[in-house]
Amino acid sequence: MTASKTITEPLISLRICRPSAAFHPGETLEFEYQIDAIEPREIRAVEVSVIWFTEGKGEEDLGVHFFERSRASDVVDGDLRSLQRLACKLPPSPLTYHGTIVKIHWCVRVRLVRRSGRDICADRLFHLLPWRGAHGSG
């Protein structure tokens, strides 16, 4: 008979409030997240960010458009696990791009900073697409 030890990892539920996950510059990105399977006292902080990052042949570049760090002392009951809904207006650039050696992705990232020191991340990709139309001569 073998004894197994179950290690429960904290859960981060992250959802972008638009099924297509496609946005245009200037539009508002709304998303919500909830944390579960962890005791409130084990959470040092929760960092929520809207970032773009590059992928491909070159070194990875990362840019932060929106960043919010919450600690237990920032909320009334000291519990950072409850459902949070956030929104931010998206910038005009850089747009999502799928090139040959350079790719640009956008994502919402929720990082759970634990007191034990190990972080846990949840990412949800979305697309920042250009407006179409408006042809003319320059």
């Binding site: 200037g26 850089p94 350079v102 407006w131 179409r132 408006a134």
Partner: protein
Amino acid sequence: MARWLRVWEKKRGTRRTGSKLVGTLGEALFSATLFVLGGVSLTTLLVLRALPIEHPFPPGFGFWVMVIVLSSFMLLGGGGVIWTWLNAGTSPERRSALAKRAAAIGPKTMATPQRPELPCIPSDANLTNSPGVKQRYRLPEVQSPAWRLILAIVFCIIWTVSAALLSLMALISFFRGEPEYFLTIFAIPFLAVSGWAIYDMHRQWSLYAGIGPTHVEISDHPLQPGREYWVYVSQSGRVAMKALAVQLVCEECATFRQGTDIRIEQKRVFNRQIDRRTDFRITPDGPLELETRLEIPVDAMHSFQSEHNAINWKLVIYGEAGAWPSFERCFPIIVYPHHDGQQDHHRTADFAQNLPS
């Protein structure tokens, strides 16, 4: 093997197999050791120098070399400890956000920005500060042929003089009856490179003197996808041309580390010929002048610049002359996204047909 015990770790995409904590501790320990080693050694050196005892080998120039080396150990070690301490326990997003906030509170110029602020899109200030004759702006060239010629001349002079001196010394040794065989063998590749440098200088001179400068002007800037512009090209010189083509080019540029080297890779992802003239003659009195329509593709990606990656648009003038080597001259342009995000708020983005697969 336990995760924290691994000596060699691997990088799998953005994830590393090793322990982050062990890595941070190792980095801090290495920097601290370097700092202590430098500090103790420097103190010992200075105390020995200050003591009134007779040194069997009094340090001269070497003393100051030791001071510089040991001070650099202390600086590198101390800096490493501070850097590790600042980075420990801080996520990359938080670091980036702090850096962005710090940049935002930095000193700003008094001038009012003319263009909307577009993150990661390079400024076009250097492309719109020169008015054109036929069109609104005259575009600067990426690398002027004059600079390339000056570099070729300087390199050719330095290398040829060095090669001539080495060859002369080798010849003298033969005339004296004490031949320097090693020097002779060493001088042969020097002479070969010198021959190539003379050829390259002649080629650059031919391109500069025979083909002459290229001027490119554009009706508006920055450019937007789906829009049309007028481009004026003037090519002067004294040459019979086989062909001259105007191309709209987009290149992706990635900078990465390979071992200790930093490499740059460029990939041409879009190349459209917008005009081409064949079999004509350029004289000093009659430069080639052509005016052509330029359309930026409606699905074009905007120009992009980050620390290690870039998407660059440019107009390339490619020429083939009868007796001269072919040449390519590049004129950068900036492409903006379709709109600045402040317009067309009535549109809905709830469609996914344009999503890349």
